[in-house]
């Protein structure tokens, strides 16, 4: 197996009023092709920040990010084929779909931008692939349920046939029963589209269900690497405990 994504000594900081706030420092990991890699940790540990850097949405990082042999450069937007190869499903399906565009437009526009033909048919296929009726194409996002919206968001991410799909807590805004449906859909799509996933989550159940390997993050650093066996034994408490580790004043409570 070849390495699909490798991240070395990634540090990300945000400028604040007086000092630079370092959200992530010295993160190194690699993801093998076809695997689901978990970035696990309590809220505020920097896992989403890492994901946004890989997605090219935050370009203020230092270190090295290599995706399918293409090196990303800090301070520059991702373009060309690499842009198509990296797609993302956002955490909140209520804010990631444009509220004034119909579903047909949301799914059709990326294809149009890339000069595809037969867009209406492609939109129907894309909806069908995520288990939605093509008749929904004429609706606005607010006319869909949360689960349906997240399916639309997944359909959009898959339109350009990416090799790497970034999942930012894709089910945390959804109902428990819908969560399982979305996760199973993602697993099926991964198998049929030969994709690599990077999944961000703080939910031990989701991680155990989805991931092949992962790292547990805490305070912007990698606390420990987890293999398949360790992942399935991961508990909610262990994820939470990572938040208290190294936090002055909380130890020993």
């Amino acid at each position: 197996m070849t390495s699909a994504v490798s991240v070395e000594q990634l540090s990300i900081s945000f400028p604040s009023a007086k000092t630079r706030f370092t959200a992530v420092s010295d993160v190194t990991f690699s993801v093998e092709e076809g695997q689901t890699f978990g970035l696990i940790g309590p809220s505020g540990c920097g896992k989403t920040t890492v994901l946004r850097a890989i997605a090219g949405l935050n370009t203020g990082w230092t270190g090295l990010i290599d995706i399918f042999g293409a090196k990303l450069e800090p301070g520059r937007k991702i373009t060309g084929d690499t842009r198509r190869n990296i797609q993302m499903v956002f955490q909140d399906p209520y804010s990631s779909l444009h509220p004034r565009h119909r579903i047909a437009h949301i799914l059709g526009e990326p294809l149009k931008v890339h000069g595809a033909e037969g867009i209406d048919a492609a939109v129907g296929i894309a909806l069908d692939r995520v288990g939605l009726s093509p008749a929904l194409a004429g609706r606005y996002p607010h006319q869909l349920s949360g689960g349906q919206r997240q399916r639309v968001a997944i359909a959009r991410a898959l339109l350009l046939k990416p090799k790497l799909l970034l999942l930012d807590e894709p089910t945390s805004a959804l109902d428990v029963t819908v969560q399982a449906e979305i996760l199973n859909l993602l697993n099926d799509l991964k198998a049929s589209h030969r994709m690599t996933f990077i999944l961000v989550s703080h939910d031990a159940g989701v991680i155990g269900h989805m991931c092949d390997r992962g790292v547990l993050m805490s305070h912007g650093r990698i606390a420990r690497a987890l293999d398949r066996a360790a992942l399935s034994e991961l508990t909610e408490d262990a994820v939470e405990a990572a938040a208290w580790d190294e936090t002055p004043g909380y130890r020993g409570n």
Partner: protein, 286 residues
């Protein structure tokens, strides 16, 4: 499937449903349409020539021949009122076409690009914003001579900064949103992103502001006319008609009251339209 397809309704029926649900939109649109109709078909609607002077019949009360009476020169007030809709609407059209698009474009560019572009565009906006509107209009008229377009130009040049400010604030808020991040990830950028994705979210509040401003602009134009800096006499214009009427306001009050009422109704119409448009433009308002 069948449940989904039955949701399809004809555009005419959709419009009817929307209109019946928003009485303010219907009333506002009706008022504006009537004024528009008056302006376009003025030569056919007006019973007299608006500049025809009959000194024998000056300052007449409303009667069978002159429904709204005559002014100090014996001109038919109804005819002047109908012709007076023309400069008013011309002004509104001029301002809508010129000022709102400029302001919104500047605001979106500044809000999305940020950094140096934002700072320089917003400083220009600040400078223009600090011009007193009516005084600038006076200066324009003093330099270029009285006339509708000179006054309108001054009004248009001083009213875009508000749109730029508003659009910038809304765009800056959107720039960090997931919609735009998602659009960027699928390769949508440049004008398509700004005008296809940002504009639809910025437009509703700009339209409301525009419709609210229009009533203010009608009043400002009437003010210019009242001061004798707008349309040149003898062309009929509502503001200057009010000004003419004030000389005889205690004895023949209707001469000032009728054009004043026309200004009031038209401003009111634009305000109602603004209120209704907001509801209509939001698809979440089903």
């Amino acid at each position: 499937m069948s449940a989904l397809t039955t949701l399809q309704i004809s555009p005419a029926r959709w419009l009817y449903l929307r209109l019946s649900r928003s009485p303010s939109l219907t009333t506002g649109a009706a008022i504006i349409l009537i004024v528009l109709f008056m302006a376009i078909f003025a030569p056919w609607l007006a019973p007299y020539d608006p500049t025809l002077q009959e000194t024998a019949n000056r300052l007449m009360a409303p009667s069978q021949q002159h429904w709204l009476g005559t002014d100090a020169f014996g001109r038919d007030i109804l005819s002047r009122l109908i012709y007076g809709a023309r400069p008013t609407l011309l002004l509104v059209l001029f301002v809508v076409l010129l000022m709102a698009p400029v302001g919104i474009t500047i605001g979106i560019l500044a809000g999305y690009l940020g950094g140096f572009v934002e700072r320089s565009l917003m400083r220009i906006t600040d400078i223009v914003m600090s011009f007193p509107r009516l005084l600038l209009a006076f200066a324009f008229v003093a330099i270029m001579g009285p006339g509708l377009l000179n006054g309108a130009l001054a009004l248009a040049l001083t009213s875009w900064p508000a749109y730029a400010r508003q659009a910038r604030a809304e765009t800056a808020k959107l720039a960090k949103s997931d919609y735009l991040a998602a659009a960027e990830m699928v390769g949508i950028k440049g004008p398509r992103l700004l005008f296809g994705h940002v504009l639809p979210l910025v437009l509703p509040s700009a339209v409301i502001r525009l419709a609210l401003d229009l009533s203010g602009i009608i009043l400002a134009a009437a003010g210019l006319g009242f001061l004798g800096l707008g349309v040149r006499p003898p062309t009929a214009e509502w503001g200057s008609m009010v000004a003419d009427g004030t000389q005889v306001i205690f004895d023949q009050w209707w001469i000032a009251a009728t054009p004043g009422f026309a200004i009031l109704i038209t401003s009111f119409g634009f305000n109602l339209l603004a209120d209704g448009l907001r509801d209509l433009m939001d698809p979440r308002n089903d």
